[in-house]
Subunit: 324 residues, 2 copies
């Protein structure tokens, strides 16, 4: 391999991560990627998918030493599985931060397994944020972007209850999201990105009748972003802004991305047409990180049914953003 | 007219309501419908749309006596416009409750105008609920359903801030929503409707990690509904349940309707593909009421640009549910 590889973490060993990896490999999509994981887990996934034994490029980090992984039952929350998934993410991210690999693509993990393992962060985004912040020596703000062919969404709040998400909203956090979105879209090649900011409340608060977060928190953030030269607009009613941003052959989107206040306001429209092509990107990090936008699908894990399309889209996106 | 008419309220006189009405009429879609409104307002809408003067069936209720309506500026919140819109809804609903008309279809109103007029309820649903409850002599629980060709959604909470919506959630209210949905779908002709119940929190709380409303409030409601013989399932992650319910030629929906905890969880997916075919139905009333699922569109009011497709869909749905 002449260029630095893309590192692909195996995800939760008892979820569909190993299966979508071996199927993406069988489809010729791994190319310059090296899997970070347990070879026995990947061999079991090949069996589950009815694929022949092949020469899959796997790096087993020294911190991944649990020999029992490939005998854990499929589709059950397990602390050992959570610990192994986290060990792969940590190892892969450190390689990229050290400059020895060029991007990290992560297969899905299970948040309960991560919690059972005592990892101390709820998900990928927070774990990568912690590692990158440690690396640069200061806290790095990050945001999650979900993207498919017709819509890009960036989330102000993510893995927390809706009640706490509302309590956590503040003008600096919204402004930071708008700014990170603007900078990321410019890196994607858009000179003057058009950013729509969704409201929090029905009808974006209807002038204060249904909540005042738009007036107190969101509008001041939009105004501050505009004063920095960012083309941010809103706050728009959550129920129509995503439809307006949707970019199709029949109707060009009005915006290049939508900033959403909550996890589900943003993810419902991204996933509505099907999750196959959705990609999750972590913005704000000093590295490229993408992932499929689905979970571990414990209900079908080990049955050879999982579709690798979103993982393939994530690999392609990583290649585009971090050319070899 | 031999059968009892469908009554079509004009909506906010300075929004797009009058325009979509005259355009639906020009397209031959009013048939057995009588417009409840101000003839001068409708004449102005015809002018705005470049339509010739025609014999539009209009009933002007005695309570609608503001002669200045047709000279109000388009697209501005006005207490007189709000009061007139409310007067039409009240008059039309009373006619249907009295058995003199068979359904009410409502053109869009503006909630700020309604508030400015001191109407005392935030929107159509609450106003109809109040009138129907008064009529039957007891408080009637109602719910809002949004439907298009591929998705039906029923909302537990509607026109209130997201913060208050969360505070207002309780097991009886969720159970009532499931029950009303079940009964409505049976009236639509489904013998054993499959009802999905969405969670409130990201990943439906991920087993309690991201909020406990699923465990405390939603699951008990689902269990109570099931014990009554209703095929209710969940709580499912909000970001994927709507996609799973989506019914297309390529992929049949897994559910006949989704019960959503908040206004925007439900409305984002219904509107994502375009609002043209969306219909709003009020469930739980002793009358059929439908409406387009868009608003007054003050930004384009008076310009002859408004699309009557959603109003036409609402008229057709009313005809199907309340045959003449």
């Amino acid at each position: 391999m002449t260029s630095r590889p893309i590192l692909l973490t195996m995800g939760d060993p008892v979820g569909i991560g190993p299966e979508i990896i071996v199927r993406a490999h069988a489809a010729g999509e791994l190319q310059d990627a090296v899997v970070v994981g347990d070879p026995a887990v990947l061999a079991r996934a090949r069996l589950a998918c009815g694929l022949p034994p092949v020469d899959l490029p796997v790096w087993q980090p020294p911190t991944l030493s649990d020999a029992s992984l490939a005998s854990l039952p499929w589709g059950c929350v397990d602390a050992r599985a959570g610990a192994a998934a986290a060990a792969c993410i940590v190892a892969a991210t450190r390689e990229v931060l050290a400059g020895r690999a060029r991007a990290v693509v992560t297969a899905p993990i299970h948040k309960e397994a991560l919690a059972a393992a005592g990892v101390g962060v709820p998900g990928h985004t927070e774990l990568l944020q912690s590692l990158a912040s440690e690396h640069v020596g200061r806290p790095l703000p990050v945001r999650m972007m979900l993207a498919n062919d017709e819509l890009r969404v960036v989330l102000v709040t993510i893995h927390t209850s809706l009640r706490r998400a509302i309590e956590a909203l503040d003008t600096p956090g919204i402004l930071e999201t708008i700014t990170i979105t603007h900078e990321a879209l410019q890196r994607f090649g858009l000179v003057a990105p058009r950013i729509a900011v969704a409201g929090l409340n029905p009808h974006a608060g209807e002038g204060g009748l249904f909540g005042d977060e738009e007036i107190r928190l969101i509008t001041p953030a939009i105004e501050a972003a505009r004063s920095r030269g960012i083309d941010a607009r809103g706050p728009y009613a959550p129920d129509t802004v995503f439809m307006r941003a949707r970019d199709t052959a029949a109707r060009p989107g009005e915006f290049d991305a939508v900033v959403a206040m909550t996890h589900d306001h943003g993810l419902i429209p991204v996933k509505y047409l099907g999750v196959e092509q959705g990609v999750n990107l972590t913005l704000g990090l000093p590295l490229v990180r993408t992932s499929p936008d689905h979970g571990t699908a414990f209900d079908i894990a080990g049955r050879g049914l999982a579709d690798p399309a979103s993982l393939v889209a994530a690999l392609r996106m990583a290649r585009r953003l971090a050319p070899g």
